[in-house]
Every structure is written in C-alpha cells, then in structure tokens.
Symmetry: C2
Subunit: 158 residues, 2 copies
C-alpha cells in the first residue's frame, strides 16, 4: 500500500482532487467467490445463467464494485488512510456493469468541509468519487461523508 501523504482536516479544501495510484483488475473467479459469500444472485455466480440474464454475461455484484472502489480510495492521494472514519454514503449508483477483465481506477473531488460541532478535535469532509473501467466509462459514482482528525489531534506519522 502506497500512501504518499496523510492529511489532517485543515489540509482538505473544496475542489481538492484525488486519484488512485493504480488500477484493480477484476477476475471472473473473484466475482463469483465474492457473490457466493455476499450476493448470491445468478448474474454474479454462474456464467451460463448470467448469459441468459438481462446483463448478457457475468457481472460483479455492485457491493463488490463498491468494495474495490473503497480500496482504490485508500490507495489514492486523498490521504485518508489510517485516520478517516466513514460516517455515511450520501448516494451511490452503478451506471455500468463491471465484467471480468475490467481494470478499475477512481478519481474524485472534495465537495465540502466543515468542523464537527460535537467533536472539536474532528472535522467532516464530503467527497464525490467515480470509479472508471479501462475504457474510461464510469461504473460507480458515490458521495462519501467522512470524519477526519484535526491537525492538533493527529499523532506522529505512522
């Protein structure tokens, strides 16, 4: 895991852009094993059944795509790693299915920052994030609200 920086609340500002350092390639095997554990529905589990579905082939569970997007956010220059606590997802959509062999990356932008009223050592940061496939087509769009420590509350870098 490459983490280039660790930002305190004061280091986030509206318009700050971030992107993942790399990309994650999705395999048919992991699509099926993730679905067997978390979303056992035919289009994610079985190629033959998926071919007959409206998807016309095996597609990742949206929750698999969402989990991959989280990993790409951690492995990005947003700088949340090790200190951010997710409070809410304010919206999440899957504009296009993720298929075996797709290579996903994320890009995003901070859309709001505000101090926490109840926790003076914390601030709230809202960002939107889009996961793209290798054809630069959006496959997931989401808006996240996270709690981030203020600089005064941050310990030494790990």
């Amino acid at each position: 895991m490459a983490v280039s920086s660790r930002r305190a609340f004061e280091d986030f500002s509206v318009g700050l852009r971030f992107r993942s350092f790399g990309a994650t390639t999705v395999t048919a095997e992991r699509i099926k094993s993730f679905a067997a554990e978390f979303d056992p529905q035919a289009p994610h589990l079985d190629e033959a059944a998926a071919d007959r579905s409206t998807f016309g082939g095996l597609v990742a569970s949206g929750w698999h795509t969402a989990a991959i997007a989280m990993r790409l956010i951690v492995d990005s220059d947003l700088g949340l790693a090790g200190q951010g606590a997710g409070l809410a997802v304010q919206s999440m959509t899957w504009p296009l299915a993720v298929r075996p062999g797709d290579a996903l990356r994320v890009e995003g932008e901070v859309t709001e920052t505000r101090p926490s009223r109840s926790r003076p050592e914390q601030g709230l940061v809202t960002f939107r994030v889009t996961a793209f496939n290798q054809h630069d087509q959006p496959v997931l769009e989401a808006q996240h609200l996270v709690m981030v420590a203020r600089r005064s509350a941050l310990g030494p870098a790990e």
Copy 2:
C-alpha cells in the same frame, strides 16, 4: 440459501416488511481478511492498533458490514433473489461499529414502488433496510432503489 418466494413488481407494495431468515456472525479473522483486500486501515486490520484507535478495538470495515447486509437481504423474505438489479443506494449510514462476535440480521420495509418509464417490463422498488446486532442495536441503515421485473416478464421459477 433459503428463498421462500420470488416476487414480481406487482407483488411489492408500500409498507411491505421483510426480515432475514437468519443471522451472520462476524469473526475477527474475516474482519481482518476483508479489510486486507478492500479497506486496509488500522482499526480493521490489527488488534493492537485498533485498541489505540478511537474505536478502542477491532471493528469491521463499513463495506464489510454493507456486504453482509446485502447477503442478509438476499436471504430474506423480500423475495428479490435472482431477479432484482440494484440501481442505487440513496443513503447509507453506520450508526454503530460492528465488532468480532456480533451476529447481524436485517429488517426492512418497502417505501415506494413505481413503473419504469423507460422499461415497460420493469418496475422500480425503493426499500429501507436496517442491520441490527445481537443487542438489537442498529449498525447499518440504508435506502435501496432496485429494478424488478413485472410479472409478465418473469420466466418460470428457478
């Protein structure tokens, strides 16, 4: 996987309640292995570091909790299995952390149904769902929008 019924769009109505058939117990091992793949941050990865974090101990990634909740929705009497396609999550919050040994179940309710304008063979169903731990404390609250086939478009039961 126990699926008691398979509902067409016409079978959903506002106020319809559903619940998972069983519960899923979350282990420390799976919390850590899920996080290593999808959300490698200290509170989800390492007991000692988690003890020093604001959580005071190992907690599941919110995306792990969300994936477990999806499995519980599939294994519920909502009847989505095999035909529902998730379009969007309209909100999702994590009111309380999930810790090793917690046993999660879900309950929910349909909040809106409407025909699809663009796809006459489909309808849109909105439901809210809450995942509870074994102390009946909410650990995840979400609102989902899914596309469901109309009865005329449903094939024979699988």
